[in-house]
């Protein structure tokens, strides 16, 4: 009963994640968007879980004009805006005596450089992530302080490690050391966050006014209740009050916003294939930058421990199980193929950003894209010399065409410090940092 391998159509498995879906046509939309203020910079971290085949990822030569590795080959067109880093350790993600949790720790430690606390309760703790620190600095005047999106279901039963709250696996961004931010997976909800609800400016304004009225009453109600609750419950309700206040502030910003804002047609659901789904999420992030709705957008392109399979490129095995290739050459090749596919998929975002004029240059010039993960060799759950690439950011004087190698034991946090510096966030120390990597002189 052996069947010959069949070439698979690109659009496979049209399956509703919710009951409703359809493909949007964001490409066809050319919204009349508010011009961003001059020299507004953006930050776009993109995360992939389960590590990579680092033999195929790490370029063979270093310095200026390095040789792109097989996995990074799709970046050729952006070579002069690409900086690859080797030798940066995400030490805080290591177990340090905890049991298990290699995957749940990797994502929160990546941008916080703090060791996530082992707990399955409400007392989750990692560190404030750099996207949030940068947002705090550069998104004061934008409608959204940041955007967090993902394409992986977060409600698969039994997908979180024992002893670790699901939040560790689901969230890449931490607003404070104890507040993981949820990542939105539904394109339609992302759209509504960006553009509001309603077909016309009048409808949207009416909706905003009604919401404001509702929120007024709500603030009052929550405050009254607080007096009647125990400390623990107060904290919980406090989250709600904070969220309500946050919305109130944003509503105030919406009002000062340009009201003849042409809103693109909203997507109605989740596209069927990984590629289309990811591209749609990229489209929405580009729109957010273009319309200056926010300047920080964090994207979990594949979460840790994910078991998505990719039959459309001839990889029927699950991602996580592929990452445990046991150093079998053939399986390692397959894993590298998947890593390459992800890089290639990501270039869609770069191309799109590069196609949009922003000030004197393109949106890509004003955006720093950070592509990487908190695990290096997925096969052994290693967090040393994690994969990380910076792309774009010409306007922030980021260099390109470089592969920079660091001595063993250099903390990833040093790069995070250097990155924050580029966005005007001045902190002396971050996580386990020992010094700042100066991105201007590198």
């Amino acid at each position: 009963m052996v069947i010959a391998k069949i070439a698979l159509p690109r659009r496979t498995f049209l399956r509703g994640v919710g009951a409703t879906m359809a493909l949007p046509l964001l490409d066809a939309m050319v919204p009349a968007l508010r011009a961003a203020t001059p020299a507004a910079h953006r930050f776009a971290p993109i995360y992939f879980g389960n590590g990579a085949n680092m033999f195929e990822w790490t370029p063979a030569t270093d310095g200026v004009g390095f040789e792109l590795s097989p996995t990074l080959k799709p970046l050729e067109a952006f070579r002069d805006r690409t900086m690859v880093f080797t030798g940066l350790d995400n030490y805080p993600a290591t177990d340090q005596g905890d049991v298990g949790g290699q995957h749940p720790r990797a994502a929160p430690a990546f941008m916080s450089c703090m060791h996530p606390k082992q707990t399955e309760g409400a007392d989750v703790e990692a560190g404030t992530t750099i996207d949030q620190m940068i947002a705090e600095k550069i998104c004061r005047d934008t409608k959204l302080s940041s955007l967090e999106v993902s394409v992986d279901r977060n409600d698969v039963v039994g997908a979180c490690d024992h002893g670790y709250a699901c939040a560790y696996m689901n969230s890449l961004s931490w607003k404070t050391p104890t507040t993981p931010l949820p990542m939105e997976t539904n394109p339609r909800f992302v759209f509504e966050r960006l553009f509001g609800v309603g077909a016309t400016p009048e409808e949207r304004l009416a909706r905003v006014n009604e919401d404001r009225s509702i929120l007024d009453g709500l603030t009052h109600q929550i405050s009254k209740l607080n007096g009647r609750l125990g400390a623990r419950d107060r904290t919980k309700l406090g989250e709600y009050l904070d969220a309500v206040r946050d919305l109130e502030q944003r509503i105030a910003k919406v009002e000062s916003y340009n009201s003849d804002f042409s809103v693109p047609e909203q997507p109605v659901g989740v596209p069927p294939t990984f590629r289309e789904y990811v591209e749609l999420m990229f489209d929405l992030q580009v729109l957010a930058f273009q319309a200056d709705i926010t300047r920080v957008s964090t994207f979990m392109m594949c979460r840790e421990n994910i078991n998505r399979s990719y039959p459309e490129i001839g990889l029927p095995e699950a991602h996580h199980s592929m990452s445990h290739h046991g150093n079998n050459p053939e399986k390692m090749k397959n894993f590298a193929k998947l890593n390459t596919y992800h890089v290639e998929t990501m270039t869609y975002f770069l191309k799109k950003l590069d196609s949009i004029q922003d000030g004197d240059g393109t949106l890509l010039d004003r955006t720093v894209v950070m592509y990487g993960g908190g695990m290096s060799d997925g096969n052994v759950h290693n967090n040393y010399s994690v994969p990380v690439v910076l792309l774009g950011g010409k306007d922030l004087h980021l260099k390109g065409n470089r592969h920079v190698k660091f001595p063993k034991g250099t903390p990833l946090a040093n790069l995070m410090l250097g990155l924050m510096d580029r966005f005007g966030v001045n902190v002396e120390k971050f996580g386990d940092s020992t010094a700042e990597i100066d991105l201007l002189t590198i």
Partner: protein
């Protein structure tokens, strides 16, 4: 604090009740209540500990962080956590470890029984209901509450994001956090729902699209909700928000490689749309004008022609529809050719991701409406539910509004409303009515209700004067809410509210009768969807993608059948109040033709699921014969004895293995059978490594016995490689078994562990929190009571509901 004030029966009276309920005193003759003799027992048990445990678990070596010599057996109270650990480890035989001197079974049994009895006595004397955190309604509960409050059915996934789970369930209080993004969704959902409730949707209608998965087989009748003689299509329930004209657009399925629609030829195919079994439209796909097929263009592409456009345009229509929930049925008229096709082995014809049958198939149905100019609010279930009075004149409006709003708020907040509540809600009403009149005012009030913390959170009152960190009985109203969220995943109904308001719900006979009534109610389906759906991983079936290259007998029809079978199976345990061990070994299951064929069971025809008896040696008996579980414990392209074994350890034995150490190589798959060692030999390598062996010695062996089921639960005697399946296994204690039927016998021997697991899972789900050592006595009590009731499902539920964990709460201290 003045609302929901209750007169607290002194906590001690409940203690007595608990002690009375605990049957252990009579059942276990070795224990007497007399302190002197207990001390004697303590001494003899101490000798057992000293002989077998304290060699490692002492203050000097502290293996596993445990020093038993430092603990006083005569007073377990302050170290219940450690002692519960001892109970668990010794009971499951995990301790003392293999290779060390182990006590004889009766000795170990006597130690554990003595400890349990003592721990239960301590728990009865010092009631500790455990910590309870404030719970937010999860998405399912929110949706159900909206249904029960307003008679509006919403598609949860289209308004709210999924919730994160904790301890295996998505109603876990600690995991249900709140963010600005979610609050924004709540605001949006409230706006949409309030408009739907009054049948006054505003703005341009948003198209809603229902997708038929591309791997569904549309060659025959696909649903029991579709007429006989139909082929393919889809049936779904859709809530039409208002009276008016709705636009329906159908899209046929495209072919995978070449584009264009499948099966559009000179032969016409009839496609019909019905609403609640009444045909509203009939159309045709294909016909003489489509003769000749598509014209291939250069480089393998096809020239776009206007055929596809013509097809699309012919598949849309508008129809006036009354507001409310309707069954939408879209289907083709079956032709004899569809049956002929069945004569061939489909697996040989099939494109891996699609199930072509030479005929057109359905891909999507999009409904848009009501078209603005036609929309009208008239009689509908939700308007009847909301509009409990009609203002005779403008001056009547505020009075009527107040009546309507109070009624809704009482149900939504699950308690009587007070002036303070009404002030906020009436302010919203006035705000809306000033803008758009009476009904706009009601809409705004409903929006206010739906985002109120009293609705979104399960706030519970604390009686005045209760001492900090003391257990107290929760109020009747709070008990009503706990019951309805546990059994229905929704708000209490009027009957339950009335009992709570009369303060009669705490009466044992009333409580018992209410639980019985609630279980019999159709809303207890929530236990199937949410409790079993998560415990048994039924919810994961929808997201599982077996690799079509290897498992080409798989299609969406099978996926749906898998879900349905396990749900119906669990539901039968509830509805028939069966012995819960039937979950492991029932002599029946539920099948339709598709699933019966998959299982190789003859004589089942048609799409309807029906109860099918299973012989005592049938591999399909019990949960471990169900495709839903066998598939979701497999990789997309192969089976995994490890994952299956782990599933059994977790969900049957209640002993989840710890995560594997790093640097463990993965197994090779079967795609190149020449190179690969048989699964068994690879796993033997794992078990040869002492680091792995501790867990894998059990996991793998349990999993092996299910190896006859492939990655989608189809029976196999040989692997793709040609090797025969060896389904034998052996547990560390020497128990041998071969194949699923013998595995079941092993599991039935461990029915006590299964019962503990199920009780724990139910309690976790009922309480919305993970369990702690202090909950173990309650678990044992529930089990003991259930055993006397022949393990009927209801007895477990009654046990949970009467546990101190469910009925009591710890008063918060200043810094809790």
């Amino acid at each position: 604090m003045k609302r929901r004030l209750i007169v607290l029966v002194a906590a001690t009276s409940f203690v007595v009740a608990v002690a009375y309920n605990a049957p252990s005193a009579q059942q276990r003759p070795s224990i007497s209540g007399d302190r002197g003799s207990r001390m004697g027992d303590a001494q003899s048990q101490h000798a057992v500990l000293a002989k077998y445990c304290i060699t490692c678990h002492n203050q000097r070596v502290k293996t596993g962080g445990l020093a038993l010599d430092a603990l006083d057996l005569a007073d377990l109270r302050n170290h219940t956590e450690e002692w519960e650990k001892v109970v668990r480890k010794v009971r499951t035989g995990a301790m003392p470890p293999v290779g060390r001197p182990r006590p004889d079974k009766p000795v170990a049994e006597s130690l554990v029984t003595w400890l349990e009895t003592e721990l239960d006595r301590v728990a009865a004397e010092h009631v500790n209901p455990g910590r309870a955190s404030l719970q937010r309604l999860n998405r399912t509960e929110y949706t159900n509450a909206v249904r029960d409050l307003l008679a509006v059915e919403i598609n949860a996934a289209s308004v709210l994001p999924a919730d994160v789970a904790g301890h295996g369930f998505d109603n876990n209080a600690d995991a249900l956090t709140l963010s600005a993004a979610l609050t924004e969704r709540y605001l949006g959902a409230a706006a949409k729902i309030s408009q739907m409730a009054l049948g006054r949707p505003r703005g341009l209608p948003t198209p809603e699209t229902v997708v038929v998965p591309s791997d569904s087989d549309q060659g025959a009748r696909v649903s029991d909700d579709l007429p006989f003689g139909s082929r393919g299509g889809v049936a779904f329930r859709y809530y039409f928000p208002a009276d008016g004209e709705y636009l329906f657009e159908m899209k046929p399925r495209e072919t995978g490689v070449s584009g264009g629609f499948e099966g559009v030829t000179a032969e016409p195919h009839q496609i019909d749309v019905s609403l609640d079994n009444v045909k509203v439209w009939s159309g045709t796909i294909g016909g003489p004008e489509f003769a000749g097929g598509r014209v291939p263009g250069g480089a393998g592409a096809y020239v776009t022609d206007d055929r596809d456009k013509k097809v699309i345009e012919s598949l849309q229509f508008r129809a006036p529809i009354k507001a409310g929930l309707h069954l939408v049925q879209v289907y083709f008229a079956a032709k004899t050719s569809a049956y002929l096709e069945d004569l061939f082995d489909r697996s040989l014809l099939r494109e891996p991701y699609r199930k072509p049958n030479g005929q057109p198939n359905l891909s999507t149905v999009t409904i848009t409406g009501p078209q603005q100019e036609t929309a009208a609010a008239s009689e509908s279930a939700s308007r009847r539910r909301v509009l409990t009075c009609t203002p005779a004149s403008a001056s009547d409006e505020p009075i009527c509004a107040k009546k309507i709003i109070s009624t809704l708020a009482r149900r939504a907040y699950r308690r009587p409303v007070n002036d303070e509540d009404l002030q906020v809600l009436m302010a919203s009403y006035r705000d809306g009515s000033n803008r758009g009149g009476f009904e706009s005012g009601l809409e705004m009030a409903i929006r206010s209700i739906l985002v109120s913390p009293d609705f979104l959170f399960r706030l519970e009152s604390e009686p005045a004067g209760v001492a900090p960190i003391t257990a107290y009985r929760i109020s009747d109203l709070d008990l009503a809410s706990r019951l309805s969220f546990f059994l229905w995943s929704s708000i209490p109904d009027d009957e339950l509210m009335k009992e709570a308001e009369k303060k009669t719900l705490q009466k044992p006979e009333v409580l018992q009768q209410q639980v019985r009534r609630m279980l019999a109610d159709s809303r207890s389906q929530a236990l199937v969807d949410n409790f079993a759906g998560q415990w048994l991983h039924i919810r994961n079936v929808a997201g599982h993608q077996p690799s079509p290259e290897v498992l080409f007998h798989y299609d969406d029809n099978l996926r749906r059948a898998f879900e349905q079978e396990t749900k119906l199976f669990f539901e039968s345990i509830i509805r028939e109040n069966r012995n819960v061990l039937d979950l492991l070994d029932a002599d029946y299951t539920f099948l339709n033709e598709r699933l019966a064929k998959h299982y190789g069971i003859p004589g089942v025809f048609g799409e309807r699921f029906r109860r099918v008896p299973l012989a005592s040696n049938s591999p399909r008996r019990g949960l471990l014969g169900k495709g839903s579980i066998l598939m979701s414990t497999s990789y997309p392209n192969r089976t995994s004895p490890v994952i299956r074994g782990k599933w059994i350890l977790e969900n049957v034995f209640g002993a989840p293995p710890p995560p594997p150490p790093p640097n463990v190589p993965d197994l090779k798959d079967e795609r190149d059978p020449r190179k690969v060692l048989p699964m068994r030999e690879q796993l033997a390598a794992h078990r040869a490594n002492p680091v792995c062996a501790g867990c894998h010695a059990q996991m793998d062996q349990l999993g092996f016995s299910l190896e006859n089921f492939d990655g989608i639960g189809e029976w196999r005697d040989v692997y793709v490689s040609g090797a025969r399946v060896d389904a034998s296994g052996e547990l560390p204690d020497g128990t041998k078994f071969n194949g699923p039927a013998e595995l079941r016998q092993v599991l039935m021997k461990h029915s006590d562990e299964f019962l503990t697991t199920m009780t724990e899972k139910l309690l976790i789900y009922a309480l919305g929190r993970g369990l702690e050592a202090s909950d173990a006595p309650a678990v044992r009590r529930i089990k003991r009571d259930a055993i006397r009731e022949n393990l009927r499902f209801e007895s477990l539920i009654q046990g949970v509901v009467t546990s101190p964990q469910f009925r009591m709460k710890m008063a918060h201290g200043d810094t809790n």
